[in-house]
Symmetry: C2
Subunit: 256 residues, 2 copies
């Protein structure tokens, strides 16, 4: 396995988890840059790296990983215009073209996972989607990705965005459903723990059945009495009522 | 453990899984009645029971379990008015009062789980919520529930409905999010399998963090560029666009 000298730009959830995995895989993280220097320091300490005061690192890295908010990628890439290292971003919904405008050897390294700094992740089962400016760069990104995960797939920018959108539904919106359930249970003096077997079974079911076949509940049964009762119980919580109605109609429409 | 003679009214998802668990626990399912006689036959064969042509069983059961659609419970209970056996329904959102109008010894046995006939369930970790017309009946229902699960809780009709509503969000609506993600992935020639590590992590996270703390993605970051791109990509799929917008606003509003 090739080991690379890597400079990290960013110190958020993705930057943190990716840096930890790359460090563990034997790469040398030579520097960390972040607009929030305190966060750069916290991350750098975890991976035995130095904090850089500038986006351009003075350590001549083989690779820059730009893991910043989407709207900052373009600005960062302009700063890296003269650098010899390969520049890659980690975003699901930003095309590779945002880099190719400024950088000759560039690419994308997108881990399809939900990362929170406070929760560790088993990186070797996370699917990574990669894209590159040319085949030589693609080989490098592939080597890099394969050093931390078993699942590496080449995907173009359009496919990557569809993956990201599906992740928004299956993860972000799903987690929001858990947050709402949690608040309803709390209002009854109950804990979300009580529905964890239900949540686990909901996920296990889609290993056996397609989600459409696995659908249960009042919406798919078009059980209007129950739906009316639930909406009445949610009176005063208009946002929850609206979501309830919207989802109920959508489930019914999806019915086979 | 007491063993009971049980008559089952209904042959749907809940009736099937509950009957299988009760049969396995050593109770005698003496008869199965269903409006759809073919389904009654299929269920009866699995649990060594007879099919009854009438709601009232001629086997003098100790217990009638009425596991039918919510709007049919009242009608069924009227038929059972003269019976000596305890009558219980299994619905989350129907009060016990629907039975007490007609039946002296009655109650509720509500398993908080998603059941599909085609998928087996580990019943002993399913939480059951019970309610009864009096304490003697409550003892019987408790014995019955404890014969199939370790988790039995007494809950009144209002608490049960709040549990049911939270289950609709955490299970039914969550599963619908999976169905939508599946359709988006299929449109890109991809399988839902690719996001299963993401889904598993989404669920694992809420063991460590509250759902509000676990929230990630463009909505909670208020990343307007990404949100706009996703909405553009979903053009022509107005239902998905509407859900996307609605959920995004709701997540942002829930932000701590």
């Amino acid at each position: 396995m090739s080991e690379y000298k890597i400079s990290i730009i960013g110190s958020g959830n993705v930057a943190t988890h990716l840096s930890l995995a790359l460090h563990k895989a034997g790469h040398e993280i030579v520097s960390v840059y972040s607009r929030t220097k305190a966060n750069a320091r916290i991350l750098a300490n975890k991976i035995n790296a130095e904090v850089s005061d500038t986006i351009v690192s003075d350590k001549q890295p083989d690779i820059y990983i730009v893991s910043v908010s989407d709207d900052a990628i373009s600005e960062v890439s302009r700063e890296l215009k003269e650098e010899k290292g390969i520049v890659m971003h980690t975003s699901g919904s930003v095309g590779i073209d945002i880099l190719t405008d400024n950088i000759k050897r560039c690419g994308v390294l997108y881990p399809l996972q939900t990362f929170s700094v406070k929760k560790s992740v088993e990186m070797n089962s996370v699917p990574f989607f990669i894209e590159a400016s040319d085949n030589t760069v693609l080989d490098t990104i592939q080597n890099l990705a394969q050093s931390v995960t078993q699942k590496v797939t080449v995907a173009d920018s359009r496919e990557r965005m569809l993956l990201h959108i599906s992740a928004v539904f299956a993860c972000n919106f799903t987690n929001h459903m858990f947050a709402i359930a949690d608040s309803i249970l709390n209002s009854a003096g109950l804990s979300i723990d009580i529905i964890k077997p239900l949540i686990n079974e909901t996920v296990e079911k889609i290993d056996k059945l397609s989600p459409v076949d696995a659908q249960t509940g009042p919406a798919v049964r078009n059980d209007k009495d129950v739906i009316e009762k639930h909406l009445k119980m949610l009176e005063g919580k208009e946002n929850l009522r609206d979501i309830y109605k919207f989802m109920t109609n959508s489930i019914y429409r999806y019915k086979k």
